[in-house]
Symmetry: C2
Subunit: 676 residues, 2 copies
């Protein structure tokens, strides 16, 4: 089933890796289909992979890590246009569903095609959707056909050099000039420059620019404007536009993030997107009915990010697990040869929790996604009851999953020793892509504080005896419980204990804020002083949700798959929960009466989970079904020919094309001969 994963068909599978596959107790194919979302999606995925990955023009002869920033940009544009052409064709054939865009632009297939990101992504995922979501029907008719056909290429410019999360702080302003029926847009200071938008540097010729709106001399709030950045024929920046690439970065190196200064740039009245708020020709401002809609988009994106973090962990753990089956080092028994490093328990502790987290984040991401769809249906019908709850949940899960995923990628990299440090392992790129998620779409600490603010409010409601919405209902139970009894180490009791501990973390934060207030601080200052307690409470809330979700979803899946697969998933679940508990054991010991013995028992169970997962570790990562091009790793290829592939990678290194580099003649020789 994984035959199309083989890149160098002449090479046989490494015998150590083959042995792992031969002795696995379940069929990875069964899990692969589940992982892809069912038989139909599995097939669609394979078809899409073939269509894109078999195209030789979309393969890089020179790995991107050898390119200069400029070469990387030019190569990224070349490929993004090829991908755009294929998308155009898929669209013409009616095969351009949301899944397809996701896979090609953000998903693992997208990363296989443009591993450092696609400079056209924001055109598809932000420019077009913003016009759809915030444009009037007339505006959609005017702009969407051109945008869909890529006759114009747009981006979305909101964040500024000096202003990020706090939108009210944005400085870019649009002043309506009723005499010409135009907006005059300016970035009045250096910190007002738009900063970060993907594709903005040298790629896009249009942007939706978010600015502070003024009409009739009065401030009206933020509004989005369609602004032409570059001439459609010669691509020169339009008058008043100062534009360029912000420079090299830790990751996402091909995205062409740009900066944008605007000086008295005039756009006509109908370039303001007016679905939600309007400016009339005379400058009269009509305010939006409600501002809930923007929450919807943010929640949508954050829910999607949870699944992205699962993919990062799936990739990293696949690479590190296969490598650990092939690499041999450090005898366990001095009289025996060096074992597969996966036989070291310390190595298992690095790898297997990442595999488990990949699975739990994926199933939780799916669950939250369904929840989002239900709630956003309710919202569209005017029922906003569950909006704050959903917002709070999506914030903390985004923060926790991205933090854990970034740490997990690094754990996997470090588990591969020096070889993980080489770009041919692909870990450095995966890390860059993953850790970026900690910052974009809401910086993680800000996210946790938003969740915490909600939790503290809910805690006050609970104290007042009010009923609570589903995802925080456990707080009411914990308040009634006072003391957690009967921690028997069962999975159910770990889940319950997580909730009890989370409720107590919220209690501590609540009580300390109240204490600060009684000491005379204002509410906001009190909350700031208790910031670390608040983020810790939000962290535990999210982890309690993950524990409960892991239990619910994996038990569910296990109930309708083969017994062989079900057995493996049960070990995954147990490993996840025991590991999660031990990682927060301080909080458990603080709020629940546990003995040294209880902790030792958990540690022994962890060891047992690792041992029981050991025989199926390779089969589990195989079942993530990640194409070799997606992994792009000499260490993690399906055939396990690690050393051959590392060696092969040196052949592509431009430095190795000549036996003697010019620097010898220019610098080294004169230096060495100077004293002779």
């Amino acid at each position: 089933s994984n035959s199309n994963n083989k890149k160098m068909p002449a090479l046989e599978v490494n015998p150590d890796l083959q042995k792992e596959r031969n002795t696995a107790t379940f069929d990875p194919q069964e899990f692969s289909v589940y992982w892809a979302g069912g038989q139909e999606k599995y097939k669609a995925k394979k078809t899409l992979e073939e269509l894109f990955l078999d195209d030789p023009a979309l393969k890089d002869d020179l790995p991107t890590s050898y390119m200069s920033h400029k070469e990387l940009y030019e190569n990224s544009v070349r490929k993004s246009c090829l991908i755009g052409q294929k998308i155009r064709k898929l669209r013409a054939d009616g095969e351009d569903g949301v899944d397809t865009y996701n896979a090609l632009l953000g998903g693992s297939l997208g990363a296989a095609l443009l591993k450092e990101g696609n400079p056209l992504s924001l055109h598809y995922v932000m420019f077009v959707p913003t016009i759809m979501g915030q444009g009037t029907t007339e505006q959609q008719v005017e702009w969407l056909p051109k945008a869909w056909d890529c006759e114009i290429i747009g981006t979305y410019a909101q964040t500024e050099l000096g202003h990020g999360t706090f939108l009210r702080g944005l400085e870019t302003r649009a002043d309506y000039d009723a005499s010409t029926q135009e907006f005059v847009i300016n970035t009045p200071t250096r910190t007002a420059y738009k900063w970060w938008p993907g594709g903005l540097g040298h790629t896009a010729n249009y942007a939706v620019v978010v600015a502070q709106l003024y009409t009739k001399g009065e401030f009206r709030g933020l509004a989005p404007f369609i602004v032409q950045l570059r001439d459609l024929d010669n691509h020169q920046p339009m008058q008043g536009i100062d534009i360029g690439d912000i420079g090299t970065k830790l990751g996402m190196k091909g995205v062409n993030n740009g900066y944008l200064g605007l000086k008295n740039v005039r756009v006509p009245l109908n370039h303001m997107l007016m679905k939600n708020q309007q400016v009339l020709p005379d400058g009269t401002y009509v305010a939006p009915k409600n501002s809930v809609l923007t929450y919807g988009t943010m929640m949508f994106v954050r829910c999607a990010l949870i699944r992205d973090t699962a993919q990062s962990l799936a990739k990293s753990s696949t690479i590190a697990t296969r490598y650990s089956a092939v690499r041999r080092q450090s005898p366990i028994d001095p009289n025996q040869p060096e074992p597969q490093i996966m036989d070291h328990t310390t190595q298992q502790l690095k790898l297997f929790p990442q595999i488990a987290k990949a699975i739990v984040f994926k199933t939780t991401g799916d669950g939250v996604w369904n929840m989002y769809n239900v709630i956003s249906g309710e919202i569209e019908q005017g029922n906003l009851d569950r909006l704050p709850e959903m917002h709070a949940l999506s914030c903390c899960l985004k923060a926790i999953c991205s933090t854990d995923a970034a740490a997990g990628v690094e754990t996997c990299r470090l588990s591969c020793g020096g070889h993980g440090f080489m770009d041919c392992s692909n870990f450095p790129t995966i890390y860059g892509m993953t850790t970026a998620v900690c910052t974009y779409e809401g910086e993680n600490t800000v996210m946790l504080l938003q969740t915490a603010r909600y939790l503290v409010k809910v805690y006050g409601q609970a104290l007042n005896g009010e009923q609570l919405v589903p995802t925080v209902a456990y707080i009411n139970e914990a308040i009634k419980l006072k003391e957690f009894v009967n921690f028997d180490g069962s999975l159910e009791s770990i889940v319950k204990a997580f909730q009890f501990v989370a409720a107590n973390k919220v209690r501590v934060a609540y009580e300390q804020i109240e204490l600060r207030r009684r000491q005379g601080h204002g509410t906001e200052v009190s909350a700031n002083l208790c910031g670390p307690l608040l983020t810790a409470a939000a962290d535990l809330h999210g982890r309690a949700f993950l524990a409960q979700s892991a239990y619910k979803e994996l038990t569910e899946v296990a109930s309708h798959v083969s017994p062989a697969l079900a057995d493996v998933l049960k070990v995954v679940l147990e490993l996840y929960l025991v590991d999660a508990c031990l990682n927060r054991i301080g909080d458990f010991l603080r709020f629940i009466e546990l003995t040294d013995r209880d902790v030792t028992n958990l540690e022994i169970r962890l060891e047992s989970c690792l041992n029981r997962l050991r025989p199926n570790a390779v089969a589990l990562v195989d079942s993530f079904d990640l194409h070799d091009r997606v992994l792009d790793s000499a260490l993690g290829a399906y055939d396990g020919n690690v050393y051959e592939r590392i060696f092969e990678s040196t052949k592509k290194n431009p430095l190795n094309k000549e036996p003697v580099n010019a620097a010898f003649h220019k610098y080294l020789k004169p230096f060495m001969k100077a004293n002779l």
Copy 2:
């Protein structure tokens, strides 16, 4: 005092940053002198910085992140030769002490000159010292003058593609041919290829190659051989030498790490370094008297690495702290303007512990360095008593400090939001350099296991009532104590509690290994099963040492500096200890009777430490006295003109030299116009 730190003298210091300096309660200059190691070393440091940093040829017009791998290599060789010339001159003037080499090749000045590493480093720090340490007097006379004068450039080739930590696994072999009095050196397999040595790729023309020695057909153990790699005149690889650059990496990108295959390469008898072991012309092998000496070098390097990790934290915390004084975001009080982000308690919790760790790792590094010198003096006099203790200590400290430093760098980077993600922040490079320490000179998990092996042995001795050496003597006390009483939260009691907890972690590991043995597993298998318990025990042992060392060293320093500085150092110490304790609170709660209230009190103390350090945070990082070129960060420059410098950095971006990139005409335009 920091006047030479200013890069763009036309710019005034950012007023927010200046305000921080004006309101600090101590004189950073006083701490700077201590930090440099006293007045004399402080002056020497300044002189060296001037000599090297003012040389325009050693400045890069184009930041390295914009270069291709090949360009970066060529630029690195150019600069390393210039640095080599200056070293030659210093040597001629008799000013080439160990400190100078350290500063230029490994230290922060070295990083300012060649931020991605120096391809000649291994020549100075491994090739020359190995000849000095392992060559006979005749060999030293033959090789050292040429090597010191850089008439030949060497490297040190030990690690192989398939073999790292476990030296007995190395495959490269040297067979002595008595008929010609030569060794025949071979890398018989692909995995035997030497891999990783710095400068090996295209720079060095010599190497010390470590190989398995065979004479008279018998295996004799490892031995070092001087091997010529390239022709001295034309730099072509010698016959039988397959050599090149291993490729791009996460960090240390300019080091030219290489690979080396040897096929029947013959070297004369006197090319084996024979100070410790000898081969006679007829092939008779004379074994070394003891193998202790290699431990010495490893300990030496690991002790030095502890101080490097302190530098990484000093750099990162300087950048992030200055940025946090300048950046304003997210109101605390909605009626107030956006505050300096350093006023957010959550931000303080990210930054200040890194400042404290920088100081504690530095003072501990100094302390351990002195200890190493004492013990290595004892060793030279034949007294090996404290060797295992010192080895165990250096292993776990190397692991803990590098792990914490790498995590600390990332915490600082993430605390700067999106801007930390840009290469112009310098965080990506600092991270690459720092996380590398987790892997080289002994992979961290292997290091912790070595320490743990020692601790478990010592625990057995303690149970037998034996006396223990100083750094583990606390285990005996803890065994007597049974229960830890009187945890009053004082700094002394936190240090004592750390030791008690560490002793109990060792106990748990010891008991579990014993249990596995009683269950019928062999000793080695039992130890492997308990691997996670062992590494956790070694971690706590190291952290207990750090706590005790922080207490001892900082109390010491505070006793003979000005009261103003002493007050600040006391807050640093308290912050370090309380934070360290809370980070391992699970272990504390497991072994010591602490209540929820006790933990809350620690949390309140942490908050109090953060608040008390807040006014002096900028002055503290100023007193690390890191030159702007060392920081190389738009976010962290002394003048705090963050936005101006970020903006300035975009001017150097080759993509921004032309308003329209060629990719528009080649790819974008045809793509956009395809449907028209």
